[in-house]
């Protein structure tokens, strides 16, 4: 759990603890590659989170661990958005791990902004991977966001969800996965997702 001061780390730590897994917060870059998996949380605005991540001096170590050492990485909420190149919400640059940017929900009638609430996670087409279990596809996840991810490549879309229209709710590429929703707050569906990430993904 990358602790750079802009994420709801308490809840994520508790979720992994409930699953019987050891999850520790760290803000020491030399520590990163010791872990089998990394989690990048994020609550707040895109610029605020990126600025905190950069000023914490953790970006280089993160890039090395994730892109070179291929440690599996899970980005949550703004942590997922930061995996992209940029966001309409701000002017800062994202990590650029996945070819995508983030755009704002249009807020047309009936679809309030931010998107707050529980929504299903849908498979795109006939793709297959370890996350596409019955438990997850029949479950629901909790979202709270004004901006959503727009990946350039369809092959990077893990899940879609609906808020007026269909949008990308999770992205993935190689050992990296980013989820717009909060698995640590999505009860059994979220816990199942975290379990799969920790035990099956990226291997």
């Amino acid at each position: 759990m990358i602790d750079y001061g802009a994420g709801n780390i308490g809840s994520v730590l508790r979720a992994f603890k409930l699953l019987g897994m050891e999850c520790l917060p760290t803000s020491d870059p030399t520590d990163f590659c010791r872990f089998t998996h990394l989690v990048l949380p994020g609550v707040g605005s895109f610029d605020y989170c990126m600025a905190r991540l950069v000023s914490s001096g953790l970006v280089d170590a993160l890039k090395d661990c994730v892109l070179v050492q291929r440690v599996p990485l899970l980005g949550i909420c703004v942590g997922a958005q930061m995996l992209g190149k940029s966001s309409q919400e701000g002017v800062g640059e994202g990590l650029g791990f996945i070819e995508m940017e983030c755009v704002r929900f249009p807020g047309t009638s009936g679809n309030k902004v931010p998107h707050v609430g529980w929504t299903k996670l849908r498979r795109l087409g006939s793709i297959d991977n370890c996350f596409l279990t019955d438990k997850i596809l029949h479950g629901r996840a909790y979202f709270t966001h004004s901006y959503y991810m727009l990946p350039m490549l369809e092959e990077n879309i893990l899940f879609t969800s609906k808020h007026g229209f269909t949008f990308c709710s999770a992205v993935y590429r190689d050992n990296i996965v980013g989820v717009q929703y909060h698995p640590e707050k999505s009860q059994r569906t979220g816990l199942e997702f975290l379990r799969i990430f920790a035990t099956e993904y990226g291997r």
Partner: protein, 254 residues
């Protein structure tokens, strides 16, 4: 019923006691808030709203220890409101595991606070709380300080101001209906929903699934209730519950 509305119990605490108010006064002791949170988590409610009342909540700092214990029980979103007056408090709450905070009284006295909080923490974490009563002319009067202080600004003018701030949600409390189980204020729900870009949650008087349906038709996406989920039966015995027909599995799919 629409699956993506959010139905949320409200638990109010004074000190370390779970209480239930009637029209924002006469707080009745109900039990232990941590235990209530644990049960609501097991019942898989959509969200839990935690509300602090009590005269000392503005002089002492927030009861972080209790809030933390409650957050530890919740694998669903937790919202906290009561006595928030600084960004430092909000930061600390979010770090503890609170998803969203409700700011009410501070909006009338610390003009810059809410905008600053939205800028730092993102709109999705900041909710504006509106407590109101209807006067004898059926005009809506705004209140702060747990219903103890009437605010001068007109209800609709305040709504306009709020839109400029851009919070993540509005949380409406119909003080007159608090604890009454006499049905929600549908008219206000409609008025506020139409004029808000952000989601609206209504609290006060909700009795069950029919009231939930009516509120959804008015355009709200969040329905909060306290008495409904804390009491059971004609004699209003304490029983923490979440009726079957309101549970997610029994609603229609999106």
């Amino acid at each position: 019923m629409v699956a993506n509305c959010r139905i949320m119990p409200v638990i109010t605490f004074d000190g370390s006691n779970l209480v239930k108010t009637s029209r924002f006064s006469n707080a009745r002791y109900v039990g232990d808030p941590i235990n209530a949170a644990r049960i609501f988590n097991e019942l898989e409610v959509d969200e839990l709203v935690l509300n602090s009342i009590g005269r000392d909540r503005h002089s002492k700092d927030l009861n972080y220890s209790l809030i933390s214990s409650i957050a530890a029980e919740c694998f669903m979103p937790l919202t906290y409101g009561g006595g928030i007056s600084s960004e430092t408090q909000v930061e600390r709450l979010l770090r503890l595991g609170v998803e969203k905070v409700i700011i009410n009284s501070a909006n009338f006295r610390l003009e810059g606070l809410i905008k600053e909080c939205i800028k730092i923490f993102g709109a999705q974490a900041i909710i504006v709380g509106l407590d109101y009563k209807m006067n004898w002319l059926n005009k809506r009067l705004l209140f702060s300080d747990s219903g103890n202080k009437q605010e001068r600004i007109a209800f609709l003018d305040y709504l306009t101001k709020i839109q400029e701030w851009g919070p993540g949600e509005l949380f409406l409390n119909a003080i007159d209906r608090d604890g009454q189980l006499n049905g929600p204020d549908l008219e206000t729900a409609k008025v506020v929903s139409i004029s808000s870009e952000c989601p609206v949650t209504m609290c006060g008087g909700v009795r069950g699934v029919e009231d939930v349906r009516s509120l959804i038709k008015c355009g709200v996406s969040g329905i909060a209730a306290s008495s409904l989920f804390l009491f059971w039966g004609v004699h209003r015995s304490v029983l923490i519950n979440f009726p079957e027909e309101l549970r997610y599995d029994n609603r229609s799919a999106v």
